[in-house]
Symmetry: C3
Subunit: 289 residues, 3 copies
Amino acid sequence: GVLPLCSRPPVWGRAARQPPGLPLAPCRTFSNNKILVELDESSGVATVKFKSPPVNSLSLDFLTEFCISLEKLENDRACRGVIFTSAVPRIFSSGLDITEMCGKSTEHYAEFWRAVQEMWLRLYGSNMVTVAAVNGSSPAGGCLIALSCDYRIMVENPKFNIGLNEAQLGIVAPFWFKDTFVNVVGHRVAERSLQLGSLLPAPEAHKVGLVDELVPEEKLQEKAQAVTAQWLALPDHARQLTKSMMRKAVLDRLVAHREEDIQNFISFISKESIQKSLRMYMEMLKKKK
Amino acid sequence: GVLPLCSRPPVWGRAARQPPGLPLAPCRTFSNNKILVELDESSGVATVKFKSPPVNSLSLDFLTEFCISLEKLENDRACRGVIFTSAVPRIFSSGLDITEMCGKSTEHYAEFWRAVQEMWLRLYGSNMVTVAAVNGSSPAGGCLIALSCDYRIMVENPKFNIGLNEAQLGIVAPFWFKDTFVNVVGHRVAERSLQLGSLLPAPEAHKVGLVDELVPEEKLQEKAQAVTAQWLALPDHARQLTKSMMRKAVLDRLVAHREEDIQNFISFISKESIQKSLRMYMEMLKKKK
Amino acid sequence: GVLPLCSRPPVWGRAARQPPGLPLAPCRTFSNNKILVELDESSGVATVKFKSPPVNSLSLDFLTEFCISLEKLENDRACRGVIFTSAVPRIFSSGLDITEMCGKSTEHYAEFWRAVQEMWLRLYGSNMVTVAAVNGSSPAGGCLIALSCDYRIMVENPKFNIGLNEAQLGIVAPFWFKDTFVNVVGHRVAERSLQLGSLLPAPEAHKVGLVDELVPEEKLQEKAQAVTAQWLALPDHARQLTKSMMRKAVLDRLVAHREEDIQNFISFISKESIQKSLRMYMEMLKKKK
């Protein structure tokens, strides 16, 4: 059940920000087209920055790079924690790329959906401490990334929204989006928010527990580092076993029904009515620009 | 597993409140003995009014009419949402009619309990948007009706109580009452409230999430209409699939154990100790008058 | 699956605090080495006091006496409710006795773990009303005792902490500690607290629902009596069936996996790395003194 990895290997290199005259800081960076990774070896914390303008949408390419980066970090003994954030102003991630779901072949839908599953399985099941530093709006799949982390910090700007708003597009969040959501906000808030496709402004999201903490934008990275350090103060082994105990049931459920879930996605997304409503949604987005 | 429907068919008719001189408003009403239904075809929203004085208790007749009305609306393409409210002052519904559980035959208990199950299966599993406009006290089965809706608005009067108070009567809420309750308020509040048989005044009920919103009595129907319209703004198909995803596990559990649940009810309610405590409770209610 | 009981039978006797000149109050006490039980026959409420200085740690002896006391009360028709509290200042219980888990034989680990399971099975599944009057800090296994009761009252002193802090010691709370915790505080708070091994000061614990109520120390016993009386006002039979309905799934899960859970504990605790970190923890505790 592993994503076929793309052929373009990531490139490791020294961080450019190395100040002159000081000994080399233990910071490595690597970058694909859409994701920038900076690993600070002294703290063991990597920062994964989404840099796929205009809105960091989760295309097949983005997802593939995301999984490669995550796998690379997971296997790197120097890395124990990851902070996810956006290099694009005002948006964390806009979620699944609708163009991947519109007018494509059945094979393409299957490949795309498997990549979405893979991203979630790796992220929700990661042994590393994972912190979302949400510095912009984060609908649908963007929200899922945040929900799958261990801790969510969001910029307190009420113009930034977050939520699983799939229902607004006429589509249904898959059961594992729902399970992840219920584990964070409880059954009632999930039931109501999913049916209404609610996008909550940051302060509302904080009130219902969708994010753990709000901070001013200029404090976000500092706070994310402090929180990650706090989680890393615990012995890795006990923390990882505990995390696995909490998340295993939900992870296992997708693993057990993975192919079925892909077939469900294909047959749902192939319906003419769904294709039509996705085309209308894309038109609307274009006009907004 | 469908309720044997009563032979008296409901009567459709024009709303009497049609103002003179205006074109006919698209409003249809139908009424049984204990329930009044008004369907506004322009909005797609029906109002179901309980009018079984003195306390809208859920007798076999009431439940049968309730299921017929619900089935009728569910199959009516003009109807997409339902508001449940009471036409009796100060009481939403007093819950299951104790006279149906006292001194009757085994067959009667079975028929009655099947009707209770049927009501819940139809309501909790409804494809329509369901909103409880709770304009009075709502113990036990009355509370279950509210819990089974998508949204609960209650008059802010602290004299109006709501809760699953079965334990106070010496009886036990069935597992599917409990499952529905847990899905709304979470495990801890449910555990405590069910054991204490708590009836909470409206403000307390709001605090623990048993109701979603409090309004002054004169704003209730307006608010219920606004909330229903908000839920109906979403595409039906996605909303319905999402609702089903959230509630299926709990619905399936009763469907799988329906006959067993009926037998449990019969053997519990047939105990002399239970019969005695129900008789005492009825005596107490009579003296209260 | 019953704990082999110790051979030293508890001794029943009259309460010493009997005021002179009055008819004998219906109060019986019995005491083992580490636990004092006072049963007030007029109210049907027993007070179980932990008196195993310096920190009421849950040694094999303590657990055995605890189970015997609980079984004795459970089978005593005069007893319907129990209040658990500490006779040691500033500590409710420090949790599992680490010396029982360090440098002992496999057989000893098995016997010890079976006693821990037995305590929880008896307490979480008790038919009596159980109230924790937490008058001091209560980490790990001490917290589990409180979580397993029907209601938790804690002294409002912010110097008193409570929580499942196993992760801080490099060990993992077993799944049934976790299940009990989730049933009280929900999945999200449990996931975060267990991974961080959080010990929360009383006010924080109250905020997340880990304890139900805070009171000044001098009001604790009075409040515990009042709460117990409130719960006992309900008919026993309905309350017990309701409690069982809420807790059965979680209890059954340990019963079904009890031997497996013992084996897991043994193989985990026997690891050299775990033994080392427990030894270091004990060193640290000694230095603290």
